[in-house]
């Protein structure tokens, strides 16, 4: 991992991208790394562009905002188009299959995954999309052990939802092929 690994999570308010970024940051803390998480959103409770950011580092993290992310998750077209313009060289971009690859973005950097459909059809609950995404992200980037990630999830979900969230993590991880994971490993 580089000195400062910047990640951005973007979508529509209510999709849970903030919680996804919180869980990744929590797993980093559990794994003994430094992490800073923050978010920007409008005053609406649902809808509107929601952007969350997590920075992971072995060193102390001062500035808490992401400037050139090495990873971007986008769950809406508006957020994909907006944030595809602000990426580090060699960044990994994860898009939901429902989105078009933004113009100017090299398709070889993009992992297209059916995050929203998997949550709805395979896990059975649309609101688990963020956990499906977290599972896919960690399988692709191999940031943390499965145990640390699961503990990160556990600290942020209501009691009684462990099974469905574990299933969402597993279904998310299963969306990433070995070839995709290997390609990402070279870029972290």
């Amino acid at each position: 991992m580089s000195k400062r690994y910047e990640m951005r999570f973007a979508g529509s308010g209510g999709q849970g991208v903030i919680l996804a970024s919180v869980i990744i940051a929590e797993a980093a803390v559990i794994a003994g790394l430094n992490a800073v998480q923050s978010q920007a959103y409008g005053p609406e409770a649902r809808g509107g562009v929601s952007k969350a950011e997590t920075i992971i580092s072995r060193d102390k993290i001062w500035y808490s905002k992401v400037t050139r992310p090495s990873f971007l998750l986008a769950l809406t077209q508006a957020s994909a188009d907006k944030y595809a313009k602000e990426l580090a060289e060699d960044a990994v971009v994860m898009l939901d299959e429902s989105l078009a690859i933004p113009a100017g973005l090299d398709p070889s950097r993009v992992i297209v995954v059916p995050v929203l459909r998997t949550a709805k059809e395979k896990v059975g609950k649309a609101f688990t999309a963020n956990i499906v995404a977290v599972g896919a992200i960690n399988r692709a980037l191999r940031l943390f052990s499965d145990e640390d990630l699961l503990e990160g999830v556990r600290r942020h979900i209501p009691a009684g939802t462990e099974d469905i969230n574990r299933k969402a993590l597993a279904e998310g991880a299963a969306l990433i092929t070995d070839a995709q994971a290997a390609a990402c490993a070279r870029r972290i």
Binding site: V22, A25, E26, A28, V29, I30, G32, L33, N34, A35, V36, Q37, S38, Q39, A40, Y41, G42, P43, I61, W62, Y63, S64, K65, T67, R155
Partner: protein, 383 residues
């Protein structure tokens, strides 16, 4: 050893307050401080405390003052618009000498402004928001862990000096999450000095011994009747219309903070030993400044950070001590130049003071600060 957990600044404020002994919270939720009310509602009943959601911010601070007078350590939390509403009763707290902690998680103003965007535009309001000459202590944290430790200090200072303490956070720190290990510094907690009518010969509730500034406090409503008022009052607590007594009272109120500035004022200095340029900042702004200073140092520039942790009273003595070694100062803050005025007053024209600020809700980046430092260097060559 306790495990590290990911915690938000707003949550750390509640945990620190509870560690300090806070057992009463009254508030009216407002972004970006809402998590403080939420977490207090969850945690206080677990600790045997009370949480009250009030109808507005005026009643919130009133309830907090009442609870504190009755003997509880009490707190409220708000943001700019609610902080404006609280001002009259903050003055009442200062005049009646009722300890409490008021958190203002600053967002972009004026008025309701940008509710979810950061700002430091309430710096002067924290000092001069309520009318009349009054003492103010205000502290400002720059990390989640510091939020925890510093709010304990806020309660300690409130109790020690019997005055409301403003805990001036900003959206950057309030909404940021970091991994922290919370220690339990119970030995550091200061509790109020209590007085009883039955103690010795003196039965006056605002009696202050010669050479001291702070009266001990009687818990109100527990069988011993006395008077609390925002009017000028004598040692019995009852109103007076005497210039002499009123002058003596307000002078003592101001003195208890001014004459104890050495005890109250704290700063963080980073890379200041051989610095020629000091970047002055407070609160969440310090995070960008730290990265900028580290990068400037890598480029061989003698730049350091001077961060008031106590933002009121302004730590002028500490800044003045650095002036002989400095060539320039850069003030960086998320407002139109508020602490800048205090820095300029302290420097008194001895050196140039430059300014970088933002008022649009965007966070100042390390690159912005480095660009400003280069621009200042350019000016140097031009001269």
């Amino acid at each position: 050893m306790a495990k590290a957990v990911l915690m938000q600044g707003n949550e750390a404020a509640v945990e620190g307050a509870i560690t300090a002994g806070m057992r009463f919270f009254a508030g009216y939720p407002i972004t970006p401080s809402t998590e403080i009310a939420e977490q207090s509602a969850l945690r206080l009943p677990q600790e045997g405390g009370k949480f009250m959601q009030m109808e507005d911010e005026i009643s919130s601070i009133a309830a907090v003052l009442g609870a504190s007078a009755a003997g509880m350590k009490a707190m409220t939390a708000t943001s700019g618009p609610g902080f404006s509403l609280m001002q009259e009763n903050i003055g009442y707290g200062a005049m009646a000498e009722i300890p409490c902690v008021i958190i203002d998680v600053q967002r972009t103003g004026p008025s309701t402004g940008l509710p979810t965007s950061p700002s430091q535009g309430d710096y002067m309001q924290a000092r001069w928001g309520t009318h009349g000459d009054h003492p103010v202590i205000a502290l400002s944290p720059s990390s989640v862990l510091e939020t925890y430790t510093l709010i304990i200090r806020a309660f300690n200072l409130a109790e020690k000096y019997r005055t409301p303490v403003i805990f001036l956070m900003d959206e950057i720190v309030g909404h940021m999450r970091e991994g922290v290990v919370l220690s339990n510094p119970r030995d550091l907690i200061i509790n109020r000095r209590k007085m009883s009518f039955h103690d010795g010969a003196n039965k006056q509730c605002y009696f202050v011994p010669e050479g001291e500034y702070v009266p001990a406090m009687k818990p109100f409503g527990q069988g011993e009747r006395y008077n609390i008022t925002g009017l000028a009052h004598d040692v019995s607590g009852f109103p007076v219309n005497s210039s002499e007594i009123a002058g003596r009272l307000v002078t003592r109120l101001l003195d208890k903070v001014e004459k104890n500035a050495d005890d109250i004022c704290r700063v963080e200095e980073f890379a200041m030993d051989d610095a020629e340029i000091a970047v002055v900042c407070f609160g969440g702004t310090a995070r960008a400044v730290m990265d900028a200073v580290l990068q400037a140092r890598e480029a061989g520039k003698r730049v350091g950070m001077f961060r008031p942790i106590t933002v009121w009273p302004f730590p002028e003595k500490q800044l003045r001590a650095r002036l002989p070694q400095l060539k320039k100062i850069l003030m960086v803050e998320h407002n139109h130049g508020q602490m800048l005025l205090e820095v300029q007053r302290t420097v008194g024209g001895a050196l140039p003071v430059d300014f970088l600020g933002r008022i649009d809700g965007t966070v100042i980046s390390p690159a912005d600060i480095l660009a400003k430092l280069s621009e200042m260097e350019g000016k140097n060559h031009a001269e």
